[in-house]
Subunit: 399 residues, 2 copies
Amino acid sequence: MTAPAGFRAAGVACGIKRHNPAQSSAPLDLALIVADAPASAAAVFTTNKAVAAPVVVSREHLARSGGIARAVVVNSGCANACTGEAGLAVARGMAARAAEAAGCSADHVLVSSTGVIGVPLSLDKVTQGIADAKRALSRTGNDTTMRAIMTTDPFPKSKAVSVQTAAGSFAVGGIAKGSGMIEPRMATMLGFLTTDARVAPDVLQRALRRVADETFNAITVDGECSTNDCVFLLASGASGVEIARDDDPALIAGLRAVSAHLAREIVRGGEGATKLVTVQVTGAASSNDAWLAARTIANSPLVKTAIHGGDPNWGRLVAAAGRSGAAFELDRASVAVGPVAVFVRGVPHDERADEAAAVMQAKDVAVSVDLGTGGTHAATMWTCDFSAEYVRINAEYRT
Amino acid sequence: MTAPAGFRAAGVACGIKRHNPAQSSAPLDLALIVADAPASAAAVFTTNKAVAAPVVVSREHLARSGGIARAVVVNSGCANACTGEAGLAVARGMAARAAEAAGCSADHVLVSSTGVIGVPLSLDKVTQGIADAKRALSRTGNDTTMRAIMTTDPFPKSKAVSVQTAAGSFAVGGIAKGSGMIEPRMATMLGFLTTDARVAPDVLQRALRRVADETFNAITVDGECSTNDCVFLLASGASGVEIARDDDPALIAGLRAVSAHLAREIVRGGEGATKLVTVQVTGAASSNDAWLAARTIANSPLVKTAIHGGDPNWGRLVAAAGRSGAAFELDRASVAVGPVAVFVRGVPHDERADEAAAVMQAKDVAVSVDLGTGGTHAATMWTCDFSAEYVRINAEYRT
């Protein structure tokens, strides 16, 4: 995320997360990203009606600034959600402190939080964290920054690409965190993208929306849409490469490469996940039906546990598609596990179960369902398997 | 289910389920219920578009007979779903054999199956089972019958009540099976109800629909709606008590007492379940919103794992309500765990977390969410907690 020119960042520890005495150093829990100059900014947010205070504040700031931002401040360990007026004051205070650090107005700061819901966030800790982060800001701060936004993530997520155009090259970079409460209908948990292309705010916003829908919005870990989901994208313009249209192939390719990688990494690092599962739906009567069926399959606990167990129990895929609400013709529907067709136009091919089971031993598994309507619409989602570890993590996360 | 006069039943073993050599006797897997004379019959079926062969056949028979049935034949261990034309022929054959046993036409037989999807059902085994069951039919056959319909159920489910009216008393009885793939939008997994009241088929159908919506349709184990869900209700009339209206208080009370008990027992015996959870939603802007929020909360893996861990993590209830699509006002919303208010009109009361945690130690836990819209609509659903055992059962069910 510091690969594109014009951005510095740092992650620090400020005591929001508990310090496990068995660990030598305190866990990183505050990140600051600062653009060298005012940058074009775009964002997509959660569609959950219970929105966290930082989401409210970031939306306000983007509206007031007309899509310009100078800094992003993020804490992990506390979501600052369901915290009432007090929580809103903390989110505003957090933006004000970051504005001082970046030398800009508070409206030019985007705020984000992740962690437990309903617990107050300490502005004192955040203030200390921002002061420390300001001193640590650097062009190589990607490493600490991507770690400071993690909660139950088993590994950090980061990606950068360089995009060549006739006018020169520009970079796109990003970091993300995921793990639980992941089924972002509009944005994913937290993603912070940067580019040094020069892009006007409205163009940037449309490009981000376009790419988010088929990357961050096409993943699920547990069907839960968080109170805090957001993806921010800042464009510094420092490369000098000007992008005028939201469907510019170079911009879309760069954003897609970074976003698709981060989105799949979020799933791969989903709570308790052992496999990355690609769910492809074809033969749908409408695009909406294709997404409906893909989403239902990707969230089905019976599908996800079968994949966890390496069991080619394709009947569960059929049952999930059938209950999804999408048009579905059982007699003409088909299912494949990887390249192995186990159900073809309504007829079971259980003699291929062993072959399908072998395919399912891999870490990456693709399943595909043709809804049998003769329609040409399709959708692809990414999900993970469902393990006992997911239950352990979420039964013990807070207490 | 044999408590009402006019019904005999039996459950037998016919080799559909594998016989574990460690067990002395083969598992029961075929049930036959026979009315002494043609009975009024009502049914509610799965809304899954991938309907199993027995559902197709039972629907046809009810339509042709005008709501009259003499026998119900059920097998467990094989769902006869996604089995194509061959499966349909087996379901029809199963009805024909049961008709011979009961001495009626095939149209007067209802057929039901439960078990693995996509595996052929052996008509030979079913035929042998029906012959054996015919010989075993008795007025005290409830015990073997309720066991013969089980799959992964940890215990059998049965209930009977006697209802007093001015015209005399009648009985209502029922058996059910559940466990996995349970979120019956129109009916539950399998439920077989009987009464000796005299009720016309159309009245019986409307009464069953009315009661099913607030009992069998108000439960969830894992949000999955099966290919085979059905509830059948037969009325023999043998008590001589005539019921003329579908909203007759005695009939509704009797059906509700049996159905609510069986529905809650299905949840209590849900795969991996350790707790029965009552989810109450109030303050909804519409009835649809109330059900939407209740259903989303009742299916939320994060809510269900928190309850499993005894963690009063009420933020997950708020997040689930917020993403449900129902109108939701965070600033006026409230959450309680049992009688303990942990979030009141937008303000957290985390000082009551220990109290709430203590309440959650019980086997039966109630959680309530007021959506804060000022509306007066409400809904109650029953769900279970989500344990690692659910994953174990479903990752290993078939292989």
